[in-house]
Structure formats: C-alpha cells, structure tokens
C-alpha cells in the first residue's frame, strides 16, 4: 500500500464524510462549513492527480466565491436556525431508495463494463496539464466556448443583480 493510496483513502474519507454531514446537519451554517471542507478535500484530490492549476482554481471558485455566496445568503435570510421540519417518512424513504438505486445502478454499470484498467496505465510522458498547455488548449481549441462562458458569467451576474434587487413597485 503506497503512501499515495493511503493519502487517497484519507482524502476520500474526508470528502465523503463531509459531504454526508453537509446533507445531514440541521444547521445550514454547519452544512456550509462542512461543504467547504469537502471542497478542500476535492482540491486535495486534484493535487493528488497532479492538476495543480485546477486545484487552485477550485479552491478560489468553490471554497472562496461560491461558499462565501452561500454563507452570505444563509445569513441574509437568517437561516441559521435549526427550524427545518422533517420531511414525511415516505419522502425520506424515497430519498434513500433513490440513493441506493442510483448507487447500485452506476456501480453495476461500472462492474459490468469492460475492465478498462488492468493495473497498467499509459504514460506518454507528454506534458498535458501544465498551465501552459491548458492555456493553449483553452484558447485555441476551446476559444469559442471560452468566450461563451464569459458571456454566461456576465449574464449570470446581471441576472443575479436583477433578481435580488428589491422591486420598487411593490410598495
């Protein structure tokens, strides 16, 4: 058992646990904090896979921007109370059923599919995930989607502003 595998196991445990806690904790603030931890562990996975740039971006975007947004929202709404009524039993049962079902189906597919890995993986030796390479791919091949993404973000920003603005006519 290599160190990497141990590391992977620890990270995975953190990821799953925090994800689970996110879903389960009653207080939204706690959920948000667990989610941050979860994101960090995912970033750790990225680092493990040697995708440093992505890891950094992930931390900035998710742990930074998105989670802050979440926390702000929660606080804005004053939701840090554990006032959530539990769903009826049937709904919870449904949630558990679908959880198991989708888990089962996906894993079954994976097991059923051709064994893709026999333990040996190709190593081309080529650089494929340095910032330089990524930048080239992103701005050559994916130029147009990239621009679209920027437009999307702009539109989302405008939309968010517009939506959260208080309507004056309401008076």
């Amino acid at each position: 058992m290599s160190i990497l595998l141990i590391l992977f196991c620890i990270l995975s445990a953190i990821t799953l646990l925090t994800a689970f806690l996110t879903v389960f904790s009653k207080n939204p603030i706690h959920s948000a904090i667990y989610l941050v931890i979860c994101f960090f562990s995912v970033a750790g996975h990225y680092l493990l896979l040697n995708a440093q740039f992505l890891a950094i971006v992930h931390v900035i975007v998710y742990s930074g921007a998105i989670m802050i947004l979440f926390l702000f929202t929660i606080m804005l709404m004053n939701l840090n109370k554990e006032n959530e009524v539990h769903k009826p039993r049937i709904t919870r049962l449904g949630a558990i059923v679908s959880f198991c079902l989708i888990c089962f189906v996906l894993i079954l597919i994976f097991i059923n599919s051709k064994p893709i890995a026999d333990g040996s993986y190709d190593v081309t030796g080529e650089d494929y995930q340095s910032i330089k390479v990524l930048g080239k791919v992103l701005l050559n091949e994916y130029m147009v989607p990239f621009e679209y993404a920027s437009i999307l973000l702009l539109v989302a920003m405008i939309g968010a502003v517009l939506l959260s603005k208080k309507e004056k006519l309401e008076k």
Partner: protein, 627 residues
C-alpha cells in the same frame, strides 16, 4: 306509327294526371272528371286498335324507347311489348277503367278533392299500363310499384282519418314485402340469363339445355312472393280487406279488377319459367287453394258489404292462383277477365248502395232496397249469379274450368275449390238477401232519401252486368276463342281438357249443384228464418274467430309489427345510447387519465426529482445493462 300510338296509349293517362294535378282546381269538378275519363277512354280506343291489329297480324309489337339502366352484364332499356297477353290485359284495364272513371264522375261529385281523385286514378291507369306493356321485368316493376303507390294514395284518399292512412300504409308495406321478393327474382334471373327482357328471356330459358334448376326454382319462388303481395295471397293478403277504406270506385278498379291481378299477369308473363319449376307450381296451387278457402270462410260472416266483397276477391284470386299453379294459365286468365266484370259490377253496385245510404256500409242496417234501387239490384243480382257460378253466367264457365283442371290434377284441390265455391255462393247471396230483401233496417232519415242512383252510375253497372252475363262466351269449353288467342304466349297445352265427356258434364253438374246449395242455405237462413247477423259483441264461437279474420292481423301485429317497434325502441334507448356511451366513455377515460396524470404534477420538486432519478436509472440501465 305503332310507336306513336303506343306512346299515346301510355301517356294519355299521364297527361290526364298532370292536367288534373296542375289545373284540376281551375277546371272544376265536372270538367276534371271528364278530362280524367277521356284520357282513359283514349287509351281504350288505342287498345282496341291494337287489339284489332294483333288478332289479324298475330305478331307482337316491340318498341324500345331509350336506354335506361346499365348493369355490367346487360343493358336495360325502357321498352314496350304489345302482345296478345298485354293487349288482353289492356283491354279490360282501360275498358273497365273507363267505366269506373265514368261512374266516379257522379260518385265522387260531392267530394271537394275530386280533381285529386281523378288525378290519382289516371296515374293508376298509367302505371297499370306500364306494368302491362313493359317489355322487361324492370319496366314492369315501375308499373308494379307505381300501382302500389296509387293504391296507397287512393286508400288514404280521405287522409284526415288516420285509420284509413294506416290501411294505406299497410297496403303499401305489404306490397313492398312482395316487391322485395320480385326484385330478388329479378336479380336471380338477371344473373342467370343476363337479360330481363321477356322475349329474350323466353328464348334463353326455352333454348337453354343445362339449366340450374335450383336457382331457377328460387327465382320462381321469389317472383311468386311478389305475386302474393300484389295479388293478396296468403300470407300477404291482409292488406286487401283493409284497403276497402278507399272510395268504392277505387275498390272496384284497383282492388278487384286490375291491380290485384298483376300477380297473375306476371306469372302468366313468365309462364315459361314457372313451367320449368314444378315444385314452385305446386306451392302456388296449394297457396291458391288455401287462400280461396280461408278467405271464403272469413267472407261468410262479414257484415261490412265491402269487406264481404274484398274477401270474395281474395278467395277468387286464390282460385286463379290455383289454376296458375296447375299450369292452366288460360283458365286463370279467363277467370281474371270474368272476375273483373262481375267483381267490378258488384263493387260499383255496392258503391251505389252506399251512396244511396249516405255512407252506410253495414249490411245489418240495410235491407229491402230492391224496390228503391231496381237497376242496382238487377245488375248486382246478375253479377252475384255470375260469381256464384250459375249457368250460363260468365263465372260459371271460368270457375268450372278451374275446378275441372283441379280435379284432373288432384282431387283434394278440387274439393277445396268446390267448398270455396259453395261458400262463395252462400255469402254472395247472404249479401244480396241482407241488402235488397225484407224490410229496410236503417234510420228513418235514410229511408226518406233512398233513391236509385243517377244514370252515370247505373250505366256502367248495366254494361258490366251485361258483360258478366255474356263474358263466358270468350272461352266456351268446346270452342275457346281465348285459348286460341293466347296460344302464342303459352306452351302448347297437350292435355285433353276440351274433350267434353260425361265426366266433365258430371263435374259441371256437381259445381252447379254446389252453387245452388250455397244459395239455398242463404235463402233458408235469411229469407225463411228472416235472421239478421248479430251485433259485434254477441258473436261467439267459430263465427267470432271468422268474424275477426282468424286473428291474423292481430297475429301479424304481435309477430312482426310489435317486435320491430319494440326493437326500434330498444335500439333507440339502449343500443344507441350504449354505443354513444362507449364513444363518450373513451373520451371520459382519456379525461380521467389526464386528470390522474395531473395529480403527478403535484408541484413537489422532491417528487419530480425522485421521478427523474428513477427515469435516469431506467434509461441508464436500458442503455448499458440491457445488452
């Protein structure tokens, strides 16, 4: 020339009809009557011309006017055929028709719709001529249905009375049942021989070697059903007594002398077909004999003067069918002719009586009219003697020939025919005694108004009485003009029927004796014992059954009319609604499904997502696991 004359013959009654329909009111009563009568008289005159022509030339005249209907395997043209048979029929149709038109001028003078009456009569004559001179079965069928229509119109002439309308409707529908049979017969003949033309049909049938006797028999039987409907044979006879709802001249013309003989005409016309189907001939003979007997028994107890005559007509028609069934077409036709004379005379006479009594038809309220109406009495007496078969009146000769023929074939048929004849003699003289003898039983008011009818009424009576007297001359046993005249139409008769031996004389004597017995019984009962038929409510026993016509009408009502109406109600109320409900049910199911489906859209995002997950799983499993 012949074509034009034939058209004149055919179309003058139609012209008379049109004039009376469109200008009848303006013409006035008398004038519209004259127009109606003249148009038939013209036809009669033309018929006389053709009669003269055919007796000399002996060649039938065939005229094709235009193409009518196309059928895949043959064309039907609108053609006319004037041969011995049709001209004979034309003679008495237009001849008696003229007389009855003449009679009607006076008889119907008080009716406000006299022009309509004459229009219908003319239309009837037109259709009757079409029936008789049509050169193929379908043209004959035009006339066949047309006379049925006119009969409908005339029975329901007094249309304010719904009972009369019912009678008219009944007549039309009963006729139509027969017509369906006739049509089926026509179809089969068309299929078998690819022609409906009488002349070609005759050559086709007589020339054919391997005939399909089964289909031929079916065709003949179907045609016979048609004849049953029109000529009021069992089981389709019940309309004829009801048809007496029409004005009396109509009863005389349509329901005694002409239309009801159409069935006999048709069978005689197709004699070559019926000759080949002995089974059907047997059926015809049996049905004819039974009809003769049954109708005669009913006639014994009827009290309505016209009903007695109606049943007598049915009975006589039965005798004619008996003759037809035995293959003795000439004999049947002979009886048709003599019957036309004396029955028309009887009907017109009864009309005269009814006229004098102001519409009274019940014989129980007549009596003693002999003195008041001598001419009517005398003429009716002659006709009654004729129908009873007293020597030497016309009926004697014709009826006797039928009975002799029957005797030669089957003694049972002869017995039935003879019994029917005795009964005929009885009920006819019952009628005479009740109407003309003893004291008048009507109201005082009627008694004051008793009078002999005007000459326009009596003149036709006299002519017809004379004809009833001498009509037998056309076919005397030794030297039959009629048989000779009709010889080209029928297959050569090989039987030894005209050898007059003691045997035949014996039969004649028996028949004559029978007639006298019938008259004698009537005499002893109504003159000697002076009895008058009882009130309706007091009639009991067999006579009640007879008086109610064996309850055949009621039976038909229960067997056919009521079930069909019940079925109609059932269809209307249940089947219709249930089919409709089925369709609406389909709509309801869709509606209900969508309503239930609506509930799925309960707005709960969780539920949507759950469904989404399930769907996703299903799709993924299908895509990846199904192989």
């Amino acid at each position: 020339m012949d074509t034009n004359l034939a058209l004149v013959l055919l179309l003058t009654p139609l012209l008379g009809f049109l004039i009376n329909v469109f200008f009848g009111k303006k013409l006035g009563k008398t004038f519209s009557g004259i127009v109606g009568t003249l148009s038939v008289v013209v036809s009669f005159a033309v018929t006389l011309y053709f009669f003269g022509y055919i007796t000399v030339a002996k060649q039938p005249i065939q005229i094709i006017l235009f193409d009518w209907i196309s059928i895949s395997n043959f064309n039907l043209s609108f053609g006319l055929l004037l041969d011995q048979l049709s001209i004979l029929w034309l003679l008495f149709v237009t001849g008696i028709g003229s007389l009855i038109h003449l009679y009607s001028i006076s008889y119907m003078h008080d009716d406000e719709k006299m022009h309509t009456f004459f229009a219908y009569l003319n239309l009837f004559v037109f259709f009757m001529i079409t029936l008789v001179i049509g050169s193929n079965l379908l043209v004959m069928f035009i006339g066949w249905e047309g006379v049925g229509l006119c009969s409908y119109l005339l029975i329901g002439f007094w249309h304010k009375n719904q009972e009369y309308n019912d009678a008219a409707k009944k007549a039309f529908i009963m006729n139509r049942i027969g017509d369906l049979g006739l049509l089926i017969g026509i179809f089969i003949l068309g299929m078998l021989f690819s022609t409906l033309d009488f002349t070609t049909l005759k050559t086709a049938i007589s020339g054919a070697t391997n005939l399909n006797s089964y289909w031929l028999g079916v065709a003949a039987f179907a045609l016979f059903i048609g004849a049953c409907g029109k000529s009021a044979q069992i089981p389709l006879y019940t309309w004829l007594p009801d048809a007496m709802a029409g004005p009396t001249p109509v009863s005389a013309l349509i329901h005694a002398a002409t239309m009801v003989t159409a069935g006999i005409f048709m069978i005689s016309r197709l004699n070559f077909l019926f000759d080949l189907t002995p089974e059907v001939q047997n059926i015809i003979a049996i049905i004819g004999a039974i009809t003769a007997l049954v109708a005669a028994t009913i006639g014994l107890v009827q009290n309505d003067i016209k009903k007695v005559l109606a049943y007598s007509t049915v009975s006589q028609l039965g005798l004619m069918f008996l003759a037809l069934g035995l293959g003795a077409y000439q004999v049947a036709i002979f009886h048709v002719v003599t019957h036309a004379f004396f029955k028309a005379c009887l009907f017109l006479g009864s009309g005269s009586v009814i006229h004098a009594l102001g519409g009274e038809q019940d014989m129980r309220k007549m009596g003693g009219l002999k003195k008041a109406m001598p001419i009517t009495f005398m003429t009716m007496l002659v006709a009654s003697l004729a129908i009873a078969g007293i020597f030497p009146f016309a009926g004697f000769w014709s009826k006797d020939e039928i009975l002799i023929t029957a005797f030669e074939h089957n003694i049972v048929l002869w017995v039935i025919g003879s019994v029917a004849s005795i009964m005929t003699a009885f009920y006819m003289f019952r009628l005479m005694y009740l109407t003309f003898f003893k004291e008048f039983r009507g109201t005082e008011d009627q008694k004051h108004h008793l009078h002999e009818s005007p000459s326009l009424i009596t003149a036709p009576l006299i002519i017809l009485a004379v004809l009833s007297f001498i009509g037998g001359l056309i076919s005397l046993p030794k030297n039959s003009w009629l048989n000779e005249y009709l010889a080209p139409i029928f297959r050569k008769v090989t039987e030894e029927e005209h050898t007059l031996g003691t045997f035949e004389y014996g039969l004649m004597a028996i028949a004559l004796a029978g007639a006298f017995i019938g008259i004698g019984i009537a005499y002893s009962k109504y003159i000697k014992q002076n009895s008058v038929p009882e009130e309706d409510s007091k009639i009991t026993g067999i006579s009640k059954v007879l008086y109610n016509k064996y309850y055949v009408d009621e039976a038909y009502d229960v067997l056919f009319v009521k079930p069909i109406n019940a079925l109609s109600g059932f269809f209307r109320d249940y089947i219709e609604t249930s089919i409709s409900a089925l369709v609406f049910g389909l709509a309801k199911v869709t509606n209900e499904l969508s309503f239930q489906g609506k509930k799925l859209h309960n707005g709960s995002i969780g539920f949507y997502l759950f469904a989404f997950v399930l769907g996703l799983c299903a799709i993924i499993s299908y895509l990846f696991l199904a192989q």
